[in-house]
Symmetry: C2
């Protein structure tokens, strides 16, 4: 089952999304929050993100959702810290954080492969709410 990592500048946002997404998925779905800096300040931390990717990966790959552009840089740095095989099955989705994470979680939870989970997240960009 594809795992998810939720990257936000805010630990509270990342953890809130993790909890929300877990309500919609099977109990064994791996969703890790990597929000904020270690000291509770706002920011993103490549070391925390790479640890979350390792914990989220069951072998089927990981989709990383990010809130803002500077978080993408941290996520890209995080990939460099990983074993190359693990990095190769990790994707950073170009998707809105909350909406993409929920869509990806539902897709991952039914056993969809990596490419389809990424697509579900990125399709959330096109969702019109009204």
């Amino acid at each position: 089952m594809v795992g998810l990592v939720i990257v936000s500048h805010s630990a509270k946002i990342a953890e809130g999304i993790r909890e929300f997404a877990l309500e919609l998925t099977k109990p064994d779905q791996r969703i890790l929050a990597a929000g904020g800096l270690g000291d509770g300040a706002l920011g993103t931390d490549a070391t925390r993100i790479s640890a979350a990717i390792e914990a989220a990966d069951s072998g089927d790959g990981v989709v990383v959702l990010v809130d803002l552009g500077s978080g993408v840089l941290s996520a890209e740095t995080a990939l460099e810290f990983l074993d190359p095989q693990q990095a190769a099955r990790t994707r950073i989705a170009d998707a809105p954080l909350v909406e993409g994470a929920i869509a990806a979680a539902v897709e991952a939870s039914v056993g969809a492969p990596l490419a389809e989970v990424v697509q579900a997240a990125e399709d959330a960009r096109e969702l019109h709410k009204r």
Copy 2:
């Protein structure tokens, strides 16, 4: 100054976004969180949303950001609870929650009028993160 209301099914997500956005704005920027149900459960509550809109409105109007489609229904119901003049200067943005809220907060904080704050939120839909 245009006020913001952050509506999420999760109280933690809404509060996290409020805190994050306030870090990027002037101290007098009004940003209210209306997340979850009163008892801490996941969901959206029109009564809480309408109270948040009233508290966010300084007379210049309010932009409401919402996470998922069912939250839009609650926000629309909330508008019906308001004084018609206040409802008329409240807009529900068709925007990604985190990204739209951050963009709208920055725009509102520099004194932009209602239509421009809505536009800033909705332009966040087009942001490619990479």
